[in-house]
């Protein structure tokens, strides 16, 4: 049987990053083909290349045996590729039918709404995608919006359907419905490419699975013969973990206690669903988990940036659940936020101002509302030197620094406030190896000084190399907490997909 879609030795390099570095893939008619990989394995880069959003550095994409070169998503659509993005490309103010036919509407000058509705209804019946063509998309649930995206693809005569992390935002019920749809499509002979990091789902829905790791496709195997353990091992690999020198420490009394915490994100979704955990003096508690499982909302809630819907946060014996972010900062919570440019820095401010950003209301940086610039400058100078920020000039704007140096500024600011606990969310994201090492050294130093560190990272390697204990989060809950000494990568990989630890010490 002729393959529908082939990807041959595809490479996509960015300056300093080989996002795709040898991807090989063959999708046959009538199969559900899964691409499985961790965050950062290169899945979404691959999708963007296939969809014409990025141009490949080298390699080839063939559609029905013909090599294709897409310069825009439009080319890809015309060639028969249907893509459902993780973030939908829909227009909430328009109806389902309008969204589906947009760009290729029936009618002459007039928009033939009735015909559009008829066509959409016909399509939805044919593919078993029950939906009201006249409903406003903004009023639909996420699951139904996804159906609109799928209908959009088929309206444009898609011959292969690519679903990028399609269950990320769905409820379990909606996921089941989606799987029914995928099975129906398969019965129609439509090949489906299913991109996911969720083991269970891949095992359930796919015929074959291709595993990606570090920009490469590792192996393609029949799903029937695969076990979860096998796939998990392929996914996380067996490379040697970067070791960080770390003297053994006896963890002290608890610094931070979180009890039954429930948090909604800014978009009103409940992201943290009853989390309880304890961080002690002199330990690094790592929180492992796949993106979108509530770990960042947890950090925001502890820092006071998101409100606790229920539960309690106790810092050093004091209930801080209802304190403002400023008060929590004062009491000893330091926070390296996930997005350093969006949350951690005011990019147009100079380094001195950024370094006092969290303390400008306090002496010596201000008295009675009057800033003391000299105090800020001498303090900034000291920190810039101590943390080796380059260029070492407190008059530079934060925007003029490299990512690694921006992170150094944030770390310097947070660590030097002599906190009780440091919350570090993705502290090494996007940094080069040297900068990563520097950040790691600082976290360990803090721990050795008897402070507590809560490290949230999507990189399992980072969690493994730094943590004393590891908590795994899945779907807003803590699946289990294990000691580093007893943790294995395979076990954690399974827990990250929501399977309870066999001998967890939670």
């Amino acid at each position: 049987m002729e393959p529908v879609l082939e990807v041959v030795d595809l490479k996509k390099w960015f300056p300093g990053v080989k996002a795709n570095d040898g991807v090989n893939l063959t999708v046959h008619a009538g199969e559900v083909h899964a691409i499985l990989g961790e965050n950062g394995a290169g899945k979404s880069t691959l999708m963007k290349v296939i969809y014409g959003l990025l141009e490949p550095t080298s390699g080839e994409i063939r559609l029905f045996g013909q090599p294709v070169h897409f310069r825009s998503p439009r080319d890809a659509i015309l060639a028969g590729i249907g893509m459902v993005h993780q973030h939908f490309m829909l227009i909430p103010a328009l109806t389902v039918a309008e969204n589906v036919v947009l760009g290729d509407e029936p009618g002459g000058v007039r928009f033939d709404r009735r015909e559009a509705v008829r066509r959409v209804r016909e399509l939805s019946e044919r593919y078993g995608l029950a939906i009201d063509p006249n409903a406003k998309v903004g009023d639909l649930t996420v699951g139904l919006q996804q159906r609109v995206e799928i209908l959009k693809a088929f309206y444009r005569k898609a011959r292969v359907l690519i679903l990028d992390e399609p269950t990320a935002l769905l409820t379990p019920q909606e996921t089941r419905e989606l799987f029914n749809i995928i099975r129906a499509l398969k019965a129609e002979g439509v090949p489906v490419l299913f991109i996911s990091h969720k083991l269970d789902e891949v095992l359930e829905i796919s015929d074959r699975v291709t595993v990606m790791r570090a920009g490469k496709t590792v192996e393609t195997l029949e799903t029937k013969g695969a076990t979860p353990q096998m796939l998990a091992n392929l996914m996380v690999g067996r490379e040697v973990v970067l070791r960080v020198e770390k003297p053994p420490m006896e963890a002290g009394p608890p610094v931070l206690e979180v009890r039954n915490l429930r948090v909604r994100s800014a978009d009103r979704h409940e992201r943290v669903k009853g989390v309880t955990l304890t961080v002690r003096r002199g330990e690094i508690l790592g929180i492992a988990g796949i993106d979108g499982n509530g770990q960042f909302e947890l950090a925001d809630a502890i820092a006071g940036l998101l409100r606790a819907e229920a539960g309690q946060i106790v810092l050093d014996g004091r209930d801080i659940t209802h304190l403002s972010p400023a008060e929590r900062t004062q009491l000893g919570i330091a926070y390296v936020p996930q997005d350093r440019q969006l949350d951690g820095l005011v990019l147009s401010f100079d380094l001195a101002s950024n370094i006092i950003l969290r303390d400008f209301r306090r002496p010596p940086f201000s008295r009675r509302g009057i800033l003391n610039r000299r105090a800020a400058e001498s303090y900034a100078k000291r920190l810039i030197e101590a943390f080796d920020v380059r260029p070492p000039d407190f008059r530079r704007k934060a925007s003029e620094l490299s990512g690694g140096n921006q992170q150094k500024v944030i770390l310097a600011r947070e660590v030097s406030r002599d906190p009780l606990i440091l919350l570090a969310a993705q502290p090494t994201r996007g940094l080069d190896v040297g900068a990563i090492e520097g950040v790691h050294r600082q976290l360990v130093r803090l721990r050795n000084e008897g402070k507590a560190v809560l490290l949230i990272s999507l990189e399992l390697d980072e969690i493994l190399s730094l943590s004393d204990r590891i908590a795994v989060m899945h779907d807003g809950e803590i699946v289990g907490v294990v000691d580093r000494a007893e943790a294995t990568r395979e076990q954690l990989g399974l827990m990250m997909t929501g399977r309870r630890a066999k001998e967890g010490t939670a």
């Binding site: 972010p325 936020p337 969006l342 949350d343 969290r358 509302g369 800033l371």
Partner: protein, 357 residues
Amino acid sequence: MKALQSILLPVAASLVAIAIGAILVAALGYNPVSVYGSLISGAFGSLGNLGNTLTASLPLIIIGLGIALSFQSGLFNIGADGQYWIGATAAVWVGYHFTSLPGWLHMLLCLAAGMVAGALWAGVIPGLTKAFVGAHEVITTMMMSYIAILFARYLIEGGPMQEKGYIPQSPLIASNTQFPYFTQGFARSQLSPISMLIAALAVLVAWFLLYKTTLGFSLRSVGLNPRAAKYAGIRVKLYIIIALALSGLFAGLAGAVQMLGVDHQLLDGFSSNYGYTAIVVALLARNNPLAVVISGLFFGALTTGGQNMQIVSNVPASLTNVLTGLIIFFVGCERIIPQVIGWYRRRRSARAQTPAS
């Protein structure tokens, strides 16, 4: 380099606008050199003219400070004109009441009334609705501005502040609240040393507040990156309200100063447009309080020079509005510069790459 660019851009925008103005004037058969000459001499040609220029600049500078402050806080207060008139109205009302007070206290009370009125006008409805329901401040301040002017007009057209006369007007403020004029030098203009002092103080206060206080630090943080401001423990909604109120406070102060220093009463018309020109003043000064002085003087000179130009060269004074509009348009298009540079670089690098591929 960056600093240089931030000076060059407004200057370049002004020069292009002046050049277009020259073409327009020449096309209509005037001599651009003598037209602009009469404009300049009208603005600076004598002490009296200079006094007029300064008089016209002061409200622009004071309002411009408030607008710069709102811009730095990430807000576009387009309704300063209304805040100015509300401040003027409050100052006039206080000015012809409480006549038993000593003059200096009465003056201060007038100024305070103007400031409070302007601050409330901008802070309460636009401020609260922006902070709590996200109503866009451009629309709300603009609507409030028209309401303010209609309200002031109502007060002197059949309302409680009407004074008998052929045209709608309010009573004159008590004579001991009126600022004294220069008795020498600027004698022929309505320039008062007190107005100048207040404007100078306003500049210093605005500058100090923005750059030397925790309040200014918070406002600028909110303006540049509200998320980081929240992370830093700044109460973003509160500072949105404060920013709009402060902005209105300066506009209200300008209204009060104008009443006490120049007009002495509300008169029908309300068409000074100071509030709109002041937006240009702030934009041209790139929201720097000290530069507001220079751009305020520039537009003040344009106004008084334009009147002289009309008398001497017979070119309508409205030419200055043409220039103002063009300047604001070009300053608005500042992003064309990096775009052109980027386009040029891409072209060069594309040319460099072509042989390789």
